[in-house]
Every structure is written in structure tokens, then in C-alpha cells.
């Protein structure tokens, strides 16, 4: 499974949606994922890709890891994978 499909699977599971309902321009907010759901998603992403995501729930928008959309999350994971491999 590629990064995109895996991220969509993780996010869909968190949002209790079918993966086909999660698109690249979906935002976590539009999918109904709250702050706890976000922290849990990031944990799942770290476990799935064996990476460490720099994320502090107190300043979610200031993190180097862009969580503004599904596409930005995938791009962030690709970067982290390249840096941390």
C-alpha cells in the first residue's frame, strides 16, 4: 500500500468514513476529526510509517508538519520518510 492509500485508510478509520469519502483536499475539520482524533491520527501515522512527527497540540498550526489537508499530510510524511530513513 502506498503512502497516500495508507494515510487515507488511517484518516477514514478515525473519521468513521469509507476511504472513498476522503479526498486529497479534505481537511480534518471537514471530516469531523477533533483535537483528540488528530493526536490519535498522528500516532497511527507514526506507527504505520515508523517516523516521528513533530506535532504539539498547543500550537497545531505552527508545527513544521502541515495538517491543513489530506494532501499536505501526505506530503509531510513523504518529507519525513526521506529525512528519517
Amino acid at each position: 500500500m502506498n503512502v497516500k492509500d495508507k494515510v487515507i485508510e488511517i484518516i477514514a478509520e478515525q473519521a468513521v468514513l469509507d476511504p472513498s469519502d476522503v479526498t486529497m483536499d479534505s481537511t480534518l475539520e471537514s471530516l469531523g476529526i477533533d483535537s483528540l482524533g488528530l493526536v490519535e491520527s498522528i500516532f497511527s501515522i507514526e506507527e504505520a510509517f515508523d517516523i516521528s512527527v513533530p506535532f504539539n497540540a498547543n500550537e497545531p498550526t505552527q508545527s513544521e508538519f502541515d495538517i491543513s489537508s489530506v494532501a499536505s499530510i501526505i506530503a509531510g510524511i513523504e518529507t519525513l520518510k526521506a529525512q528519517q530513513s
Partner: protein, 402 residues
Amino acid sequence: MKRVVITGAGTINALGHTVPETYEAMREGRCGIGELEMRDVDRLAIKIGGQVRGYKADTCFNRQQLALYDRFTQFALIAAREAVKQSGLEFSGDLAAKSGVVLGTSGGGMQTLDENYRSVYGEGKNRVHPFVVPKLMNNAAASHVSMEFNLKGPSFTVATACASSNHAMSQAFQMVRSGMSPVMVTGGSESMLCFGGVKAWEGLRVMSKDACRPFSANRNGMVQGEGAGVFVFEEYEHATARGADILAEVAGFAMSSDASDIVMPSKQGAARAISGALADGRINPEEVGYINAHGTGTAANDKTECAAVADVFGQHADTLMISSTKSMHGHLIGGTGAVELLACIMALREGVIAPTIGYQEADPECALDVVPNEAREADVDVVLSNAFAFGGLNAVLALRKV
């Protein structure tokens, strides 16, 4: 209803090993937070905390005692010794039979849990020390305090996460106020600064890697501390009859439950606890000069707490002072309200308001007088101590100058 006063106080925390040392640090705005020293610290993402330093357990307790006392029990006993000594009370006969101890803690014997899980899971050992259970149980500290001071009345432990101490002291207050007990020893203790304790908090992504900066726009989370605060709550007539030095009066309290979210705080729940404490103590909002904030330094708490204070106090919110001493001693979780009550007593007794240190940038959502960075001299008559726990459980205490 009886009046309730405080006739003894004791503590050990990152700012000092006694109440006078802690007051001095708070007056100077000193920071007790530093690099964590513990096993496997290199495997932690969060490497700072308000650890109790320069403490040698074997100078306070003998070998047999240390076999039974987790670090949180040691802290509770050290604080209780200072508090009971200051009160001048000795418990015997009828006084002993009616007096008890109610302490708050969230994790209980976390150091013991951590060490023994490591031993059986990590190192594969199949045998543990026979005292693991009596050492780790949440009521161990309260029980050992009862034994050391012969407190034979109502005694138990309260666990409501970050509000444990305030809930415990609220229970003790009710017992003395109702006439059930002439004296209650109360407060809280916590020692969660072990590998597993910090690792668990790390997971929630709310911890700061550099400092606890409550109310500052650039705050980035909480910092954990450890230690204990213990007080002697005594019925007023009982205290005056023996000529005790009264530190403050416990004037009112209230508890509330948000009934909404397991981690996100609620403005309404906080406001109901604050206004409830005022109503319980028949306190006019304008009388309140200082609030020791819950002030964790997280985005969620600080905004909600300031909004709740603004709602309850209206225009007076701009006049009163509110500071978070967690910036100095860290968040003691179940012990935090007890150590923070010291800042309240210092305000009433010494006319010094402890500062919120590490404050760098004003936040329009926390636009109150947070006593930034430097302690301030002020004459206040009534103070509040806020505690708002995970799980939405809130407890606020009001103290009055005597």
C-alpha cells in the same frame, strides 16, 4: 456550621524542601524546572520537569521505612511533618479518634509501578519485592501519615487527576465545618516523574519541550513537576482556645463536573466552580484580590480559564490578579492544588503575590493581570485557588485573611 482555619503548612517541591524555601523562591520568581535526571531520559522527547533536587531519602527515613514508602509517600510525610510541627498539635485521646487525613494523588506509587514493570516485563524477572502492593497503592501516603501522627478518624485518598488536592482539601474542609472532625490533615502528593510517567504524558502531545509559560501568547504546553503540600485544617474555636497561629481561614469551596469531554475543559464548568465557591463562602466577587490559576500553559486551559474568570467577575476581572505558579514548580498533577495553596497563603499572610514567570508575549485571549515575571506586593483579603482536571472535574477553594 463551624469556621475552619489553617494552622500548619508543609511542602517539598521543585522550589524548596520547606514552606519558607518555597515562599522565598516564589517571591524571587525562581524557576524550579530543569533537565530531567532519570534512567533512559535519552529515550524521552520531553526532557524537562520540576524535579525535587538535592533530596536524600535516607536522611529522612530509615531502611525499613524506605522499603515501604514510594517517593510520593515520602513527599507526603515530609510535608506532613512540617505542617503538624507548625500547628503544635499532638494527637491523642478524643482528638486523635476524631481527626483524620485526606490526601489527593493521581498516580499513587508510580515510581514503584515503573520500577517493577521494568523488572518483570523489561528484564524478565519473575519475582518482585513483597511490598510492591502496599507501596504503590494510592492510599499509601494517607495511611502512613495517619500512622505517623496517630490520626484515627476519617481518612482516605481522593483521585481526580489534576484536581485531586483541591477535592481532598474540600472534603477535609467539609468535615471540620460540619463538626465531624476538630482537625484534618490534608493536601496532596505526586511523583510521576519517572520514565513511564513522562512517556505517557508525551503521548498526549501537550507537553512543552522548553518551558511552562502560562497565559503567554507563545506558550507551548505544560511541564510536569513533583512533590507534596500538606496542611492542618482546624476548627476555629479549637485553634483559638489553644492560642494557635492562624495562617488563613478556609472560607468556601465548590466542585463541579463539566460532563462534556475527557480532556477539553469547559468554560461553564470552570465558571460554575468559581462562582459556587464565592456563594459557598458568602464572598462578594469584588472582595477577591488574587486567584491562583490552574494555568497549565496549554492553549486549551489558559483561554478557557481566563474566559471563565471574566464571566464570573465581570469588570472586576480586570482589577484582580491571577497568576500561575506552575511556571515555577511545574504541574504536580494530583499534588498541584496543595502546593499552589501556599501561594494563596503567602498572598494573605505576607502580602506578596507570586508571579507567572516565563511570560513573554501578551495574549488577547488571556487579557488579565497575570502578575508577569515579578512578584508583587499587595494587600488582599480573599483569594481563590482553581483546579480543573482532565475528565472535567473542577474544584475551587476560597481563603480569607484572619
